[in-house]
Symmetry: C2
Subunit: 208 residues, 2 copies
Amino acid sequence: MSTSASEKKDSSTEEKIKTAAKTVFYKKGFAATRTRDIAEEAGLNLALLNYYFRSKAKLFEIIMAETFAGFIGSMKVILDDEKTSLEQKVITIAERYIDFISVEPEIPTFILTEIRNNPEELLKRLPIKEIVNDSVFIKQFQEAVQNKEITEPNPLHFLMNLLGLVVFPFIVKPIIMGSRNLETEQFHALMQERKKKIPIWINMMFKA
Amino acid sequence: MSTSASEKKDSSTEEKIKTAAKTVFYKKGFAATRTRDIAEEAGLNLALLNYYFRSKAKLFEIIMAETFAGFIGSMKVILDDEKTSLEQKVITIAERYIDFISVEPEIPTFILTEIRNNPEELLKRLPIKEIVNDSVFIKQFQEAVQNKEITEPNPLHFLMNLLGLVVFPFIVKPIIMGSRNLETEQFHALMQERKKKIPIWINMMFKA
DNA sequence: AAGTTTTTTAATCATTTGATTAAAAAACTT
DNA sequence: AAGTTTTTTAATCAAATGATTAAAAAACTT
Protein backbone atom coordinates (compact mmCIF):
# COMPACT_ATOMS: atom_id res chain seq x y z
CA MET A 1 0.00 0.00 0.00
CA SER A 2 1.46 3.31 -1.09
CA THR A 3 -1.05 5.60 0.57
CA SER A 4 -1.18 6.67 4.20
CA ALA A 5 -3.99 5.52 6.42
CA SER A 6 -5.69 8.92 6.50
CA GLU A 7 -5.36 9.37 2.77
CA LYS A 8 -6.88 5.98 2.28
CA LYS A 9 -9.79 6.86 4.48
CA ASP A 10 -10.55 10.00 2.48
CA SER A 11 -9.83 9.04 -1.08
CA SER A 12 -10.31 5.30 -1.26
CA THR A 13 -12.85 4.05 -3.73
CA GLU A 14 -15.03 2.81 -0.92
CA GLU A 15 -15.04 6.22 0.71
CA LYS A 16 -15.70 7.98 -2.58
CA ILE A 17 -18.76 5.82 -3.07
CA LYS A 18 -20.04 6.53 0.41
CA THR A 19 -19.57 10.26 0.00
CA ALA A 20 -21.35 10.25 -3.34
CA ALA A 21 -24.10 8.02 -1.97
CA LYS A 22 -24.66 10.43 0.91
CA THR A 23 -24.96 13.36 -1.45
CA VAL A 24 -27.47 11.67 -3.72
CA PHE A 25 -29.49 9.81 -1.09
CA TYR A 26 -29.79 12.97 1.01
CA LYS A 27 -31.05 14.96 -1.93
CA LYS A 28 -33.37 12.47 -3.60
CA GLY A 29 -34.15 9.73 -1.10
CA PHE A 30 -33.75 6.00 -1.64
CA ALA A 31 -36.45 5.34 -4.22
CA ALA A 32 -35.62 8.27 -6.51
CA THR A 33 -31.89 7.55 -6.44
CA ARG A 34 -30.41 5.52 -9.31
CA THR A 35 -27.25 3.58 -8.64
CA ARG A 36 -26.00 5.20 -11.84
CA ASP A 37 -26.47 8.63 -10.22
CA ILE A 38 -24.20 7.60 -7.39
CA ALA A 39 -21.59 6.14 -9.72
CA GLU A 40 -21.58 9.31 -11.78
CA GLU A 41 -21.41 11.54 -8.71
CA ALA A 42 -18.42 9.52 -7.52
CA GLY A 43 -16.83 9.44 -10.99
CA LEU A 44 -16.61 5.67 -10.83
CA ASN A 45 -17.77 2.62 -12.73
CA LEU A 46 -21.24 1.44 -11.78
CA ALA A 47 -20.11 -2.11 -11.01
CA LEU A 48 -17.91 -0.85 -8.18
CA LEU A 49 -20.97 -0.08 -6.06
CA ASN A 50 -21.90 -3.75 -6.07
CA TYR A 51 -18.29 -4.84 -5.72
CA TYR A 52 -17.90 -2.86 -2.50
CA PHE A 53 -21.43 -2.81 -1.08
CA ARG A 54 -23.30 -5.74 -2.63
CA SER A 55 -26.47 -3.79 -3.35
CA LYS A 56 -28.13 -0.39 -3.39
CA ALA A 57 -30.14 -1.35 -0.32
CA LYS A 58 -27.05 -2.33 1.68
CA LEU A 59 -25.29 0.89 0.74
CA PHE A 60 -28.32 2.87 1.79
CA GLU A 61 -28.48 1.09 5.13
CA ILE A 62 -24.90 2.05 5.87
CA ILE A 63 -25.49 5.70 5.01
CA MET A 64 -28.65 5.73 7.06
CA ALA A 65 -27.04 4.11 10.08
CA GLU A 66 -24.14 6.55 10.07
CA THR A 67 -26.43 9.53 9.61
CA PHE A 68 -28.67 8.50 12.45
CA ALA A 69 -25.78 7.67 14.72
CA GLY A 70 -24.32 11.13 14.11
CA PHE A 71 -27.60 12.86 14.72
CA ILE A 72 -28.78 10.95 17.75
CA GLY A 73 -25.34 10.32 19.18
CA SER A 74 -24.59 13.96 19.82
CA MET A 75 -28.08 14.34 21.29
CA LYS A 76 -27.38 11.54 23.73
CA VAL A 77 -24.10 13.11 24.80
CA ILE A 78 -25.77 16.45 25.47
CA LEU A 79 -28.78 14.99 27.30
CA ASP A 80 -26.55 12.81 29.46
CA ASP A 81 -24.11 15.44 30.62
CA GLU A 82 -24.09 15.49 34.43
CA LYS A 83 -22.27 18.80 34.53
CA THR A 84 -24.72 20.98 32.65
CA SER A 85 -28.04 22.38 33.83
CA LEU A 86 -31.32 22.08 31.96
CA GLU A 87 -30.94 25.61 30.61
CA GLN A 88 -27.44 24.93 29.45
CA LYS A 89 -28.60 21.79 27.67
CA VAL A 90 -31.18 23.79 25.76
CA ILE A 91 -28.57 26.33 24.77
CA THR A 92 -26.19 23.61 23.62
CA ILE A 93 -28.83 21.77 21.60
CA ALA A 94 -29.99 24.91 19.81
CA GLU A 95 -26.43 25.99 19.06
CA ARG A 96 -25.00 22.65 17.99
CA TYR A 97 -27.95 21.48 15.91
CA ILE A 98 -28.41 24.74 14.07
CA ASP A 99 -24.71 24.67 13.20
CA PHE A 100 -24.84 21.00 12.26
CA ILE A 101 -27.90 21.26 10.04
CA SER A 102 -26.65 24.45 8.42
CA VAL A 103 -23.70 22.45 7.09
CA GLU A 104 -25.82 19.47 6.00
CA PRO A 105 -29.24 20.99 5.34
CA GLU A 106 -30.62 17.88 3.62
CA ILE A 107 -30.36 15.68 6.70
CA PRO A 108 -33.62 16.58 8.45
CA THR A 109 -35.85 15.77 5.49
CA PHE A 110 -33.77 12.68 4.78
CA ILE A 111 -34.37 11.43 8.32
CA LEU A 112 -38.03 12.41 8.28
CA THR A 113 -38.80 10.52 5.10
CA GLU A 114 -36.97 7.53 6.51
CA ILE A 115 -39.16 7.78 9.62
CA ARG A 116 -42.13 7.60 7.30
CA ASN A 117 -40.82 4.77 5.13
CA ASN A 118 -39.48 2.55 7.85
CA PRO A 119 -40.60 3.44 11.36
CA GLU A 120 -40.21 -0.07 12.78
CA GLU A 121 -36.70 -0.58 11.44
CA LEU A 122 -35.77 2.83 12.73
CA LEU A 123 -36.99 2.20 16.27
CA LYS A 124 -35.26 -1.17 16.29
CA ARG A 125 -32.02 0.50 15.34
CA LEU A 126 -32.24 3.51 17.64
CA PRO A 127 -32.66 3.03 21.37
CA ILE A 128 -34.78 6.18 21.63
CA LYS A 129 -36.59 4.93 24.69
CA GLU A 130 -33.37 4.45 26.63
CA ILE A 131 -31.79 7.67 25.39
CA VAL A 132 -34.75 9.71 26.53
CA ASN A 133 -35.90 7.92 29.66
CA ASP A 134 -32.58 7.05 31.24
CA SER A 135 -31.02 10.45 30.59
CA VAL A 136 -29.74 13.02 33.03
CA PHE A 137 -32.02 15.42 31.18
CA ILE A 138 -35.15 13.54 32.29
CA LYS A 139 -33.95 13.51 35.88
CA GLN A 140 -33.28 17.23 35.81
CA PHE A 141 -36.60 17.89 34.15
CA GLN A 142 -38.52 15.94 36.79
CA GLU A 143 -36.64 17.71 39.57
CA ALA A 144 -37.49 21.06 38.03
CA VAL A 145 -41.14 20.03 37.89
CA GLN A 146 -41.10 18.97 41.53
CA ASN A 147 -39.40 22.21 42.56
CA LYS A 148 -42.07 24.03 40.56
CA GLU A 149 -39.46 25.71 38.41
CA ILE A 150 -41.28 24.29 35.40
CA THR A 151 -45.04 24.26 34.94
CA GLU A 152 -45.32 21.64 32.19
CA PRO A 153 -45.02 18.14 33.64
CA ASN A 154 -44.58 16.27 30.37
CA PRO A 155 -41.00 16.20 29.05
CA LEU A 156 -42.28 15.18 25.61
CA HIS A 157 -43.81 18.60 25.10
CA PHE A 158 -40.51 20.14 26.12
CA LEU A 159 -38.48 18.06 23.67
CA MET A 160 -40.97 18.35 20.82
CA ASN A 161 -41.06 22.11 21.20
CA LEU A 162 -37.31 22.49 21.42
CA LEU A 163 -36.59 20.26 18.42
CA GLY A 164 -39.49 21.68 16.45
CA LEU A 165 -38.17 25.21 16.92
CA VAL A 166 -34.71 24.09 15.81
CA VAL A 167 -35.49 21.72 12.96
CA PHE A 168 -38.77 22.88 11.42
CA PRO A 169 -37.43 26.05 9.77
CA PHE A 170 -34.83 24.02 7.87
CA ILE A 171 -37.49 21.66 6.57
CA VAL A 172 -39.56 24.52 5.17
CA LYS A 173 -36.58 26.59 4.13
CA PRO A 174 -37.66 27.07 0.49
CA ILE A 175 -41.05 28.33 1.66
CA ILE A 176 -39.47 30.68 4.18
CA MET A 177 -37.10 32.03 1.56
CA GLY A 178 -39.86 32.31 -1.02
CA SER A 179 -42.24 34.06 1.32
CA ARG A 180 -40.01 37.10 1.70
CA ASN A 181 -37.54 36.83 -1.17
CA LEU A 182 -34.67 35.92 1.10
CA GLU A 183 -31.22 34.98 -0.12
CA THR A 184 -29.45 31.97 1.39
CA GLU A 185 -27.33 34.39 3.37
CA GLN A 186 -30.37 35.99 4.96
CA PHE A 187 -31.89 32.64 5.81
CA HIS A 188 -28.71 31.70 7.63
CA ALA A 189 -28.76 34.98 9.50
CA LEU A 190 -32.29 34.14 10.58
CA MET A 191 -31.11 30.81 11.92
CA GLN A 192 -28.21 32.42 13.74
CA GLU A 193 -30.71 34.70 15.45
CA ARG A 194 -32.68 31.65 16.47
CA LYS A 195 -29.67 30.17 18.22
CA LYS A 196 -30.02 32.89 20.82
CA LYS A 197 -33.79 33.20 20.77
CA ILE A 198 -34.80 29.56 21.09
CA PRO A 199 -33.37 29.15 24.62
CA ILE A 200 -35.12 32.35 25.65
CA TRP A 201 -38.39 31.21 24.09
CA ILE A 202 -38.13 27.83 25.78
CA ASN A 203 -37.58 29.55 29.11
CA MET A 204 -40.59 31.76 28.55
CA MET A 205 -42.76 28.79 27.66
CA PHE A 206 -41.81 26.50 30.49
CA LYS A 207 -40.48 28.54 33.38
CA ALA A 208 -42.96 29.02 36.16
CA MET B 1 -76.31 8.29 -17.02
CA SER B 2 -78.05 6.27 -14.32
CA THR B 3 -76.18 7.62 -11.27
CA SER B 4 -76.79 10.87 -9.45
CA ALA B 5 -74.23 13.65 -9.57
CA SER B 6 -73.02 13.08 -6.01
CA GLU B 7 -72.84 9.34 -6.44
CA LYS B 8 -70.82 9.85 -9.56
CA LYS B 9 -68.43 12.14 -7.77
CA ASP B 10 -67.79 9.56 -5.06
CA SER B 11 -67.77 6.29 -6.90
CA SER B 12 -66.78 7.10 -10.45
CA THR B 13 -63.70 5.37 -11.76
CA GLU B 14 -61.90 8.67 -12.00
CA GLU B 15 -62.60 9.43 -8.36
CA LYS B 16 -61.63 5.94 -7.25
CA ILE B 17 -58.28 6.40 -8.93
CA LYS B 18 -57.71 9.76 -7.29
CA THR B 19 -58.59 8.40 -3.88
CA ALA B 20 -56.27 5.44 -4.31
CA ALA B 21 -53.52 7.67 -5.69
CA LYS B 22 -53.78 9.93 -2.68
CA THR B 23 -53.47 7.00 -0.32
CA VAL B 24 -50.42 5.56 -2.02
CA PHE B 25 -48.64 8.81 -2.90
CA TYR B 26 -49.13 10.11 0.64
CA LYS B 27 -47.66 6.97 2.12
CA LYS B 28 -44.77 6.30 -0.23
CA GLY B 29 -44.07 9.45 -2.20
CA PHE B 30 -43.88 9.79 -5.97
CA ALA B 31 -40.73 7.81 -6.73
CA ALA B 32 -41.53 4.80 -4.55
CA THR B 33 -45.09 4.54 -5.84
CA ARG B 34 -45.79 2.08 -8.67
CA THR B 35 -48.74 2.75 -10.90
CA ARG B 36 -49.63 -0.88 -10.25
CA ASP B 37 -49.88 -0.10 -6.52
CA ILE B 38 -52.45 2.57 -7.26
CA ALA B 39 -54.43 0.32 -9.60
CA GLU B 40 -54.48 -2.43 -6.99
CA GLU B 41 -55.47 -0.03 -4.20
CA ALA B 42 -58.33 1.18 -6.39
CA GLY B 43 -59.26 -2.35 -7.47
CA LEU B 44 -59.02 -1.33 -11.12
CA ASN B 45 -57.15 -2.25 -14.26
CA LEU B 46 -53.80 -0.58 -14.62
CA ALA B 47 -54.57 0.84 -18.05
CA LEU B 48 -57.34 2.96 -16.61
CA LEU B 49 -54.84 5.25 -14.90
CA ASN B 50 -53.45 6.23 -18.26
CA TYR B 51 -56.88 6.34 -19.84
CA TYR B 52 -58.09 8.91 -17.32
CA PHE B 53 -54.89 10.75 -16.37
CA ARG B 54 -52.42 10.21 -19.23
CA SER B 55 -49.45 9.49 -16.97
CA LYS B 56 -48.28 8.87 -13.43
CA ALA B 57 -46.70 12.33 -13.36
CA LYS B 58 -49.94 14.06 -14.39
CA LEU B 59 -51.92 12.14 -11.78
CA PHE B 60 -49.38 13.09 -9.15
CA GLU B 61 -49.56 16.75 -10.10
CA ILE B 62 -53.30 16.74 -9.62
CA ILE B 63 -53.07 15.12 -6.19
CA MET B 64 -50.32 17.52 -5.20
CA ALA B 65 -52.20 20.59 -6.39
CA GLU B 66 -55.36 19.60 -4.52
CA THR B 67 -53.44 18.75 -1.37
CA PHE B 68 -51.58 22.04 -1.36
CA ALA B 69 -54.68 24.02 -2.16
CA GLY B 70 -56.46 22.43 0.80
CA PHE B 71 -53.57 23.03 3.15
CA ILE B 72 -52.68 26.57 2.16
CA GLY B 73 -56.21 27.64 1.28
CA SER B 74 -57.50 27.27 4.80
CA MET B 75 -54.40 29.06 6.08
CA LYS B 76 -55.11 31.98 3.79
CA VAL B 77 -58.70 32.21 4.99
CA ILE B 78 -57.62 32.28 8.61
CA LEU B 79 -54.80 34.77 8.12
CA ASP B 80 -57.04 37.09 6.11
CA ASP B 81 -59.98 37.24 8.49
CA GLU B 82 -60.61 40.88 9.39
CA LYS B 83 -62.86 39.94 12.28
CA THR B 84 -60.43 37.92 14.37
CA SER B 85 -57.57 39.16 16.54
CA LEU B 86 -54.01 37.86 16.39
CA GLU B 87 -54.62 35.68 19.44
CA GLN B 88 -57.76 34.25 17.92
CA LYS B 89 -55.91 33.47 14.71
CA VAL B 90 -53.34 31.48 16.65
CA ILE B 91 -56.08 29.56 18.44
CA THR B 92 -57.84 28.81 15.17
CA ILE B 93 -54.68 27.65 13.40
CA ALA B 94 -53.67 25.33 16.23
CA GLU B 95 -57.15 23.89 16.51
CA ARG B 96 -57.94 23.47 12.83
CA TYR B 97 -54.56 22.14 11.74
CA ILE B 98 -54.23 19.65 14.56
CA ASP B 99 -57.68 18.34 13.67
CA PHE B 100 -56.92 18.34 9.96
CA ILE B 101 -53.59 16.55 10.24
CA SER B 102 -54.97 14.06 12.76
CA VAL B 103 -57.34 12.87 10.05
CA GLU B 104 -54.69 12.81 7.29
CA PRO B 105 -51.45 12.29 9.17
CA GLU B 106 -49.39 11.56 6.06
CA ILE B 107 -49.89 15.00 4.57
CA PRO B 108 -47.11 16.90 6.35
CA THR B 109 -44.33 14.55 5.30
CA PHE B 110 -45.84 14.32 1.82
CA ILE B 111 -45.68 18.10 1.49
CA LEU B 112 -42.22 18.33 3.03
CA THR B 113 -40.70 15.82 0.65
CA GLU B 114 -42.34 17.66 -2.22
CA ILE B 115 -40.74 20.86 -0.95
CA ARG B 116 -37.42 19.07 -1.15
CA ASN B 117 -37.98 17.49 -4.55
CA ASN B 118 -39.45 20.46 -6.31
CA PRO B 119 -39.06 23.77 -4.51
CA GLU B 120 -39.23 25.94 -7.64
CA GLU B 121 -42.37 24.31 -9.01
CA LEU B 122 -43.93 24.62 -5.59
CA LEU B 123 -43.25 28.32 -5.24
CA LYS B 124 -44.50 28.92 -8.75
CA ARG B 125 -47.74 27.18 -7.91
CA LEU B 126 -48.30 28.70 -4.47
CA PRO B 127 -48.43 32.45 -4.04
CA ILE B 128 -46.82 32.23 -0.60
CA LYS B 129 -45.40 35.71 -0.82
CA GLU B 130 -48.80 37.27 -1.40
CA ILE B 131 -50.56 35.09 1.15
CA VAL B 132 -48.14 36.10 3.86
CA ASN B 133 -47.30 39.69 3.01
CA ASP B 134 -50.71 40.97 1.96
CA SER B 135 -52.54 39.33 4.83
CA VAL B 136 -54.54 40.87 7.63
CA PHE B 137 -52.31 38.83 9.92
CA ILE B 138 -49.20 40.76 8.89
CA LYS B 139 -50.96 44.06 9.44
CA GLN B 140 -52.09 43.00 12.89
CA PHE B 141 -48.66 41.69 13.72
CA GLN B 142 -46.97 44.95 12.75
CA GLU B 143 -49.48 46.93 14.73
CA ALA B 144 -48.84 44.76 17.76
CA VAL B 145 -45.12 45.36 17.36
CA GLN B 146 -45.64 49.10 17.12
CA ASN B 147 -47.90 49.10 20.17
CA LYS B 148 -45.21 47.09 21.95
CA GLU B 149 -47.60 44.27 22.65
CA ILE B 150 -45.14 41.95 20.94
CA THR B 151 -41.39 42.00 21.44
CA GLU B 152 -40.31 40.04 18.36
CA PRO B 153 -40.39 42.24 15.25
CA ASN B 154 -40.01 39.47 12.66
CA PRO B 155 -43.29 37.76 11.71
CA LEU B 156 -41.33 34.88 10.17
CA HIS B 157 -40.20 33.76 13.62
CA PHE B 158 -43.80 33.92 14.77
CA LEU B 159 -45.10 31.81 11.90
CA MET B 160 -42.24 29.33 11.98
CA ASN B 161 -42.71 28.80 15.70
CA LEU B 162 -46.46 28.42 15.47
CA LEU B 163 -46.37 25.98 12.56
CA GLY B 164 -43.39 24.12 13.98
CA LEU B 165 -45.22 23.56 17.26
CA VAL B 166 -48.28 22.31 15.36
CA VAL B 167 -46.72 20.24 12.60
CA PHE B 168 -43.41 18.90 13.92
CA PRO B 169 -44.87 16.40 16.39
CA PHE B 170 -46.83 14.71 13.59
CA ILE B 171 -43.69 14.37 11.48
CA VAL B 172 -41.81 12.62 14.28
CA LYS B 173 -44.83 10.73 15.53
CA PRO B 174 -43.23 7.26 15.39
CA ILE B 175 -40.28 8.54 17.43
CA ILE B 176 -42.56 10.17 19.97
CA MET B 177 -44.62 7.02 20.30
CA GLY B 178 -41.53 4.83 20.47
CA SER B 179 -39.83 6.97 23.07
CA ARG B 180 -42.47 6.30 25.71
CA ASN B 181 -44.38 3.29 24.39
CA LEU B 182 -47.45 5.31 23.53
CA GLU B 183 -50.49 3.93 21.78
CA THR B 184 -52.06 5.87 18.92
CA GLU B 185 -54.78 6.92 21.32
CA GLN B 186 -52.30 8.47 23.71
CA PHE B 187 -50.51 10.28 20.93
CA HIS B 188 -53.78 11.82 19.89
CA ALA B 189 -54.48 12.84 23.47
CA LEU B 190 -51.09 14.55 23.49
CA MET B 191 -52.03 16.49 20.37
CA GLN B 192 -55.37 17.46 21.82
CA GLU B 193 -53.53 18.89 24.80
CA ARG B 194 -51.36 20.88 22.44
CA LYS B 195 -54.41 22.51 20.88
CA LYS B 196 -54.84 24.39 24.13
CA LYS B 197 -51.22 24.77 25.05
CA ILE B 198 -49.79 26.08 21.78
CA PRO B 199 -51.72 29.37 21.92
CA ILE B 200 -50.60 29.83 25.51
CA TRP B 201 -46.99 29.04 24.62
CA ILE B 202 -47.09 31.45 21.70
CA ASN B 203 -48.40 34.15 23.98
CA MET B 204 -45.66 33.48 26.50
CA MET B 205 -43.00 33.62 23.81
CA PHE B 206 -44.11 36.77 22.06
CA LYS B 207 -46.17 38.88 24.43
CA ALA B 208 -44.30 41.78 25.93
C1' DA C 1 10.74 -10.03 -13.33
C1' DA C 2 7.18 -13.53 -12.75
C1' DG C 3 3.33 -14.81 -10.45
C1' DT C 4 -0.69 -13.73 -7.62
C1' DT C 5 -4.28 -11.07 -5.81
C1' DT C 6 -7.13 -7.04 -5.89
C1' DT C 7 -9.46 -3.56 -8.32
C1' DT C 8 -11.66 -1.67 -12.34
C1' DT C 9 -14.07 -1.78 -16.74
C1' DA C 10 -17.30 -2.68 -20.61
C1' DA C 11 -20.80 -5.50 -21.89
C1' DT C 12 -24.78 -7.85 -20.81
C1' DC C 13 -28.72 -9.84 -18.18
C1' DA C 14 -33.15 -10.11 -15.97
C1' DT C 15 -36.65 -7.70 -13.85
C1' DT C 16 -39.42 -3.92 -13.04
C1' DT C 17 -42.26 -0.45 -14.57
C1' DG C 18 -44.76 3.30 -17.13
C1' DA C 19 -47.24 3.26 -21.09
C1' DT C 20 -49.78 1.56 -25.33
C1' DT C 21 -52.83 -1.23 -28.12
C1' DA C 22 -56.47 -3.81 -29.89
C1' DA C 23 -60.25 -6.25 -28.67
C1' DA C 24 -64.18 -7.01 -25.43
C1' DA C 25 -67.77 -5.22 -22.55
C1' DA C 26 -70.81 -1.81 -21.09
C1' DA C 27 -73.37 2.27 -21.60
C1' DC C 28 -75.75 5.27 -24.34
C1' DT C 29 -78.47 6.98 -28.60
C1' DT C 30 -81.62 6.57 -32.22
C1' DA D 1 -83.08 -3.76 -31.48
C1' DA D 2 -79.26 -1.84 -34.11
C1' DG D 3 -75.76 1.17 -34.20
C1' DT D 4 -72.50 4.21 -31.82
C1' DT D 5 -69.67 5.80 -28.23
C1' DT D 6 -67.46 5.16 -23.89
C1' DT D 7 -65.22 2.30 -20.66
C1' DT D 8 -62.61 -1.71 -19.30
C1' DT D 9 -59.51 -5.57 -19.95
C1' DA D 10 -55.55 -8.62 -21.11
C1' DA D 11 -51.57 -8.68 -23.55
C1' DT D 12 -47.59 -6.50 -24.90
C1' DC D 13 -43.92 -2.97 -25.58
C1' DA D 14 -39.90 -0.21 -24.70
C1' DA D 15 -37.07 1.96 -21.54
C1' DA D 16 -34.99 2.15 -17.14
C1' DT D 17 -32.55 0.01 -13.66
C1' DG D 18 -30.20 -3.09 -10.20
C1' DA D 19 -27.10 -6.57 -10.64
C1' DT D 20 -23.65 -9.88 -12.70
C1' DT D 21 -19.83 -11.53 -15.46
C1' DA D 22 -15.62 -12.15 -17.68
C1' DA D 23 -11.79 -9.88 -19.13
C1' DA D 24 -8.38 -6.07 -18.49
C1' DA D 25 -5.62 -3.25 -15.52
C1' DA D 26 -3.36 -2.22 -11.40
C1' DA D 27 -1.31 -3.34 -7.16
C1' DC D 28 1.09 -6.34 -4.44
C1' DT D 29 4.28 -10.44 -3.21
C1' DT D 30 8.04 -13.38 -3.84
